[in-house]
Symmetry: D2
Subunit: 401 residues, 4 copies
């Protein structure tokens, strides 16, 4: 049973959930198991250890929480902060907006630093706030590494630089939902205190695990947090880690095996090769957009995202119509423009287990749709621009040399 069958593969280019590779689907195709047997803890131990690698952390402690990215956000906040704590948060698009909304509803005192949608976090404002906060009233900086709504990647190393410059002890909490496993991310080197992602993003699994890495400093902070929580409480996890049974409540057996397979594939390809592949896919997409004569929603090159590209359409076109036609005529799933940019942008997600020819098929589809909706695109132009770049840059597949 499918709800609306169409011949051929669905071309899934939303920025999440993304394509699941066959070996991962296979690994998850299994019956339930007793999670209290010796097998599941033994596997969990390998997962908690190996998942640190996707954060480039050795010092961190990881949590695999049966939840979504929204739950992972809540876990990061409620374990490290107390109601009333002052935090600085950057509003640059729909997902940072939702996180800020959560921060406010959880009763934190949020300094919202807003930018135009299409711009990165305003780090000048951050600097002035840090400079003037000799009293260290700011308890945390909350920042989205990659804003999925606009395709903007923030420079986390600069945030760390500023914190260090002012010797500011604020925690650095990072939403890496659409960056980790795809963009260059360095938990330990950048002094990130909590980083998080969701299984359905670049890890290319189904939705269902909120993956969190906490620095020793974050763990220390969690001991004093007065936020009310139970389901998301790290303490319960840590207690079961010590017991060696690992789970305070029932995990998804299927997702654990899926995560094992997903990590194995990542490590087989090599995390740096994965990041390089995303870089190629991002660059190729942007070259196509340029060739079509369209603008990237992201206003400066320094913020260009290698996992999602938000494409601005001319004002006489409703970008939602592009997304609708993509699905109705071409079995192509593109991302809608959200909130402020609804109707103005459509998004091409190019993250996860994806290769170049898949992307080129998508780009060829976008060209036809643009023509469908009345934009005078030259068919083949985007594909030509993208493949001119790709043909020079795709490496041989290592296992096939």
């Amino acid at each position: 049973m499918d709800y609306v069958y169409a011949p051929g593969k669905n071309h899934l280019f939303v920025p999440g959930p993304v394509n699941i590779p066959e070996p991962v689907l296979r690994a998850m195709n299994r019956n339930n198991e007793d999670y209290r047997s010796p097998a599941i803890p033994a596997m969990t131990k390998t997962l908690l250890e190996d998942v640190k690698k996707i954060f480039k952390s050795t010092a961190g402690t990881t949590f695999l929480i049966p939840t979504t990215g929204t739950g992972a956000w809540e876990s990061a906040l409620t374990n490290t902060l107390s109601p009333g704590d002052r935090i600085v948060s950057f509003l640059i698009g729909q997902f940072s907006l939702l996180w800020i909304d959560q921060q406010q509803r959880l009763n934190f005192n949020v300094d919202v630093v807003e930018s135009d949608w299409g711009q990165g976090a305003n780090l000048d404002v951050l600097e002035s706030k840090l400079a003037s906060d000799g009293a260290h009233t700011i308890k945390a900086i909350c920042i989205v590494h990659n804003e999925t709504a606009t395709g903007v990647t923030n420079d986390l190393s600069k945030v760390r630089f500023l914190l260090d410059k002012y010797k500011h002890p604020a925690l650095l909490l990072v939403d890496g939902v659409s960056s980790i496993c795809a963009l260059d991310f360095r938990m330990d080197e950048w002094g990130v205190d909590v980083a998080l992602t969701g299984s359905q993003k670049a890890l290319s699994l189904p939705t269902g695990i909120g993956i969190i890495c906490a620095s020793p400093k974050a763990l220390e902070a969690s001991k004093n947090s007065k936020s009310v929580k139970v389901f998301f409480d790290w303490k319960d996890y840590l207690k079961f880690y010590k017991l060696g049974t690992y789970w305070p409540y029932t995990p998804s057996i299927q997702l654990l095996y899926g995560l094992r397979a997903a990590l194995d594939l990542l490590f087989e390809e090599g995390l740096d090769n994965v990041i390089a592949r995303h870089s190629r896919l991002g660059k190729a997409t942007r070259l196509a957009v340029e060739a079509w004569g369209l603008k990237n929603c992201t206003q400066k090159e320094e913020w260009f995202s290698d996992t999602v590209t938000a494409v601005l359409v001319p004002s006489y076109i409703d970008s939602s119509e592009i997304v609708r036609r993509a699905w109705k005529r071409y079995n192509l799933s593109l991302g809608l423009g959200l909130n402020k940019v609804a109707g103005k942008v459509f998004r091409i997600g190019h993250l996860g287990n994806l290769n170049e020819l898949q992307l080129l098929g998508c780009l060829a589809g976008v060209e036809m749709i643009l023509k469908d909706v009345g934009y005078p695109v030259k068919l083949g132009s985007g594909v030509a621009a993208a493949s001119a770049y790709l043909q020079n840059n795709i490496p041989l597949i290592p296992s096939r040399i």
Copy 2:
């Protein structure tokens, strides 16, 4: 890859997660999809409607939250109550204990009504509390329908009777984790305000959906709740229900299709037939226990559970050794004794997508293990007692007549 392969099927008789039927595994064996396309909301709509049937509710509103039973508990409490609210809660085993722990950590004011482990909720104490609460300071009654640790089923109709007798407006919040879809449960008839279960229990899915049904009164109460929550907030769901997009954050596509298949199977068998099947399996198990000369942890017949049987072992045997041997020698997964009854009981879960011959295989295994650990069981005695009953009571499989 399996962590510890053994030939043949694993005999999964823990009281959750339970066996997933093949049609459900098949339904979940799929790539991700864009959850914002028209397909997923259309399917979600059918799910929210059909899932009501497992609660026997027409008036309720359902929520499919990407979480576990623990999260479903938290959702039930934080949406309907405010910090400091007085609630009455029954401590009769490990899972009621954990729920009470959560209630306390969420800052509710809990009247804990404790019973011996093996007994049901003490409803006499409830009655006296209700009788003396003319001021209606009690805001909610929290009760586990079926305590999974001891195999005790509480009589919810009696709780409703008492509330009505004293015209008490307290909300009735029910943990139906190991009862719903297996035991007789009547949301509307019994005036339950919030009932909840987890996908990995009698619904026979993987872990990952906390399934909640809220009465109109519970929804009304949720408008005034002052508990802090975001991820678990029903308001976000209700907002998206109105929009027709249904999801405030990314659901698991696989679990949605799996739930669709699981409900289809339930309805094909007929919910009443499913309940009758659980009744047969429970009765057969208890007859075997009796034939072995062992005692049921559950102290009176009125509390006998048709989804899990906790079996008391003689004091010279460590029940954990039974569970260990089951797994190591017979590829049989039994439930451990938890907390107060650790070492004293082992548990046979007989819920979910399970038939009589599966159970008899398990019972034959338990007999051999009992002999392994030095208990003088007569091999075949339990199987004989169970099958004498079953042979008289198993109906023909309707689809095969």
Copy 3:
């Protein structure tokens, strides 16, 4: 476990085995079953009936033999003919060559009518043979509907026309391996006596079922055939059809369920829509080839195949290198040139469960590879030509309107 993993989807554009749609993979993801229970015969009955539709036959009798296309060939020949029988057979490429080799090894007396590889069957020669065969020594005409090695489609209606013109009673045996379910094929209307295909071709299943449709005349002929056979003997099937148990030996349960699902998808899309989709994909491919400045191996438009395109490369390029690079660098699987055209052509299979954007991804890949191997292609040119045609011709997906 994969033998040589590469990130993203494999782009499978060999002319068989082809991509299996997810609903079919799901249907086959199942344990074995007793094939003598009432369930399998009941399902088989629907399959034997429904599979006639893909042949556009109502008069025919169908056989689902656990074998490959080569076995289906053998079944067609040995059931209808006797050793020494004279048959006319057309050699136009590798697969017709292999069939002729089989015919000769089975001791038939074969008039081989050869054409250049790239041309269709020489029906003028057929006509003169029929004209001069007043004695009806020719017992069968064997013809490949679509020669997979060269991408040549023969005109079967003309063969029928000639047989009728000369009132010749020869049987018409047709290899429809790479045509049936993809090209216009009309068993009854064209008076085909035996038609056959393999499950791994346009039906988009795994290899394993040789699917045969026999006309009443072919069945009649089978009564007198003196060819030695047991495994392939239709009589055994017919005996079990009568008994209602259907299977003379054990079928693949998985393939039966897979076939059920594959037929359901075909009928949901509509067989004529499936054929129209293949026509679009074929046309688009040929336009791309033309835009690249390359030649189609097929020498005349009347023979152009809508399921596979064999592309001639300049003499300074080894087409095998194109196929190798496709796999090693782009995770793209193209078809090799076989035998006489080895090194001279590569093949793009565009049959089965495939859509337009998948094809455009493949074409974009071929462009890059052509550049890799030193052919001065203009990147984007083929995609542009193909999509100019497609954008005007792709219908909305009916289920999504």
Copy 4:
């Protein structure tokens, strides 16, 4: 979609097709691949080598033919013999009967040596035939190692002993369909010339591969065979083995990966442990039958089969009714009595990926059915007898110690 859904697992105890283990189902859950890429030949090479181990052969050459056991029979015969060749063949049940029927229809000159159904091959007759065949007119001895219809295992070492005793050069062709991978089988030691099995038997795969091992002597004989064949011709395979591409026609990609997984599981368990497990299951079944007061169709202990037990029922019971009720009431699949023993026996298949508790569940089911049909069985008696034996003999699962 299932044709006739029933709750819980189907208890599959027909002697084939048998239960597929989950890791094998997972391995087969995959899209098609180009079988001409380097990956499939590389994997095939490991399969052809490793599959020899299940025959206990190092000298043999293996063939993985896309067919069933019936096709494997035909392959064994037509590659090694010529029409008119004299062969000795033993008729002891339905499957040996069917093989003999094939031998006759393929025009061999068959000396049929018949025994009562329930007895083994009459080797005294064989001896006298060999003794009197100084002229070596007998070209082959054809023998079924394990007759699936009656549960009779023949002593192959004695056949070899007789051939050696009379220095007779006849080929020894063995149907190992229901023995190989389950019973002790020693190709090289016993001088078997062709041995064969089917993937759906003890290897626990779907139907679809006829697996053949040919001795050097059989290969030599194949050079002179005059039997007509193409699909089953070993020469085509050998030609492609030399080329390193391995496949004369399209294999099932899914079955190749499945076979890889099945062999990996066999070797992980250890072939001798697998055989010991079958020995336990066979013994336990026979003890149950005895406890029920029923007779084994197999008349002497020396012929008892460890893969299938045919149980004689009293004359007032129709054994087909037992099989029907098993399926209709208990979701249990038992084997029918075939041909001469139709209505007189039902069969319990205990081969393949199966463990002891699965068998005990089946035995408990059979007891209830016996009672259903009016046989005065003592419920639990068979289970008690079987488990008394098993409890003393089941080893710990090595991976779980």
